[in-house]
């Protein structure tokens, strides 16, 4: 379990990214921080592996304060996947993935074998293993990024808008892939996005953030949809635009689901 205890962060230039934030992230579930830019979601994520140290408060992983842990060791024990994949351009795909194993002290062969294995897990053809990142498509690079995050089999996976830079079709594919992986691997995932649809799709627990890391609402997607806490949440999740308010109409004997604007969005299955 990851726990934020009354955490805050003011950067050196005086901007307050997070005011006072407390939350528990249950193990083996996906928690999504969602909000517009400047809501402190990335800062919150980066506090888990000490890429950012809080100005006050504590972050605990399984009841251990992360500030008591060696930064480098801590980061090696946590998977990290970022936007644009963040791969090393001068290392081949296989080495990018295997490097994390090497940093943890695995020998060359063990690292490579494991890297091949995990590339397969994320659905990458082994023929791509010896290419450089620049020779891959954006979606493929992102898969390598996920593979790198998973290679050491960490309990925690941090994902910072990992699918933000790929086109919608590929994004959809990667999201489904992540759901499949999570069913198999059962990691504690912290996921950051500004896309509420992505948050609802991937999150067991969704945290909607206002400016300065203020929590507008926490809950499962169903809970939030059923009972938005306030106007900010209603408008953020799109209830006011009408495309989430659906009703059933009968056309030619089939029951069709229609949104508030009258647009047909699906068929009601029996």
């Amino acid at each position: 379990m990851i726990e934020y205890r009354s955490i805050g962060k003011t950067f050196a230039d005086g901007t307050e990214a997070v005011g006072d934030f407390s939350l528990q992230l249950p193990s083996r579930t996906t928690t999504v921080f969602v909000g517009s830019s400047g809501c402190g979601k990335t800062t919150l994520l980066r506090m888990v592996n000490r890429m950012v140290d809080p100005s006050h408060g504590q972050v605990l992983i399984d009841d251990v304060d992360v500030s008591t842990r060696n930064k480098v060791e801590l980061r090696r024990s946590i998977g990290y996947v970022m936007q644009e994949a963040g791969l090393l351009p001068h290392r081949k795909v296989i080495d990018n993935v295997a490097l994390m194993m090497r940093l943890k002290g695995a020998d060359k062969k063990e690292a490579r074998d494991r890297a091949h294995e995990v590339l397969e897990t994320v659905g990458l053809d082994s023929s791509l293993a010896n290419r450089y990142p620049a020779q891959l498509s954006g979606g493929q690079q992102q898969r390598v990024g996920v593979a790198r995050g998973l290679v050491t089999d960490p309990n925690i996976l941090l994902m910072d808008e990992p699918f933000g830079a790929v086109d919608p079709i590929v994004r959809d594919e990667l999201q489904q892939e992540l759901l499949r992986l999570q069913r198999e691997l059962d990691k504690t995932i912290v996921f950051v996005t500004h896309d509420i649809d992505e948050a609802f799709l991937l999150g067991d627990q969704v945290v909607i953030l206002k400016k300065g890391g203020e929590i507008a609402q926490v809950g499962s997607p169903a809970e939030i949809l059923a009972k938005p806490a306030n106007d900010f949440v209603s408008s953020f999740i799109g209830l006011e635009k009408g495309h989430r308010k659906l009703h059933v109409e009968e056309r030619n004997g089939t029951r069709i689901v229609v949104d508030e604007t009258g647009k047909a969005t699906g068929v009601l299955s029996e």
Binding site: R46, N49, G86, L88, P89, H90, M100, L103
Partner: protein, 233 residues
């Protein structure tokens, strides 16, 4: 041609001394300049000062430098070490700027990713920053190499034998063939250094198919030509 045939051994000897008189400063200059450039890039406030200092060093006239050095470092007047030290200083002067630019060209996002995935600072510097700075470092080193090869010849004026000695001697004895051989030897050596560097770059950095170029690259041949026209002495 007949002069060359009669003096092959001599030319060969001069070529060899030219080779190490230029090779050593190129190597030393690179090894010294890279950490300084890395430091300058890390400490933004010192960057300007360090780079200007390099610029000032480069403006010292080489002949004067060769003559003054013995009294500074206590070497003999004809000691080839003077030439090596002076050319190392010039190499550092040019290379520091290239090195600072090279490290600046490394994507901050990649460095951030490397840190986040668990690189310790030293590991990150050697395994990520240095190789990624490679293409721009190489561009700078090519300029340094060609410029150093041509500058060595000035050493002949203070009696340190190298291919430049063919100029001084040829001029004194009115031997055009000898001067020509000197020119061919130096240009050939410069091209050889450049070729070796380019090939080494291809082998060491297969990922950099289109090397990103820093600010420095004047074509090595151009800077050499400029030198022949008397850009420095």
């Amino acid at each position: 041609m007949s002069w060359f045939n009669a003096n092959t051994d001599k030319v060969w000897d001069l070529l060899l001394s030219h080779l190490w008189l230029s090779g050593l400063p190129i190597l030393l200059g690179f090894v010294i300049a890279v950490p300084i450039g890395w430091f300058a890039n890390r400490h933004r406030r010192l960057r300007g000062t360090i780079l200007s200092l390099g610029g000032i060093l480069y403006t010292i006239p080489s002949l004067a430098f060769f003559l003054v050095l013995p009294s500074i470092i206590g070497t003999g007047f004809l000691d080839p070490v003077n030439v090596v030290v002076a050319l190392t200083v010039y190499a550092v002067a040019i290379m520091v700027r290239s090195a600072a630019d090279a490290f600046e060209s490394v994507s901050p996002a990649v460095l951030d990713a490397a840190t986040a995935t668990g690189f310790a600072p030293t590991g990150r510097a050697f395994l990520v920053e240095l190789p990624l700075a490679g293409p721009v470092l190489l561009a700078g080193l090519r300029v340094v190499a060609v410029s150093t090869v041509s500058l060595v010849s000035v050493g002949a004026l203070i009696g340190v034998s190298n291919l430049g000695s063919l100029f001084t001697e040829g001029y004194r004895t009115d031997n055009d063939a000898e001067i020509l051989i000197g020119v061919i030897g130096i240009v050939g050596l410069a091209l050889l250094f450049d070729l070796v560097l380019v090939i080494a770059g291809r082998l060491l950095m297969p990922w950099a198919r289109t090397p990103r170029q820093g600010r420095s690259p004047v074509s090595p041949i151009m800077s050499f030509a400029q030198h022949l026209r008397g850009g420095r002495v």
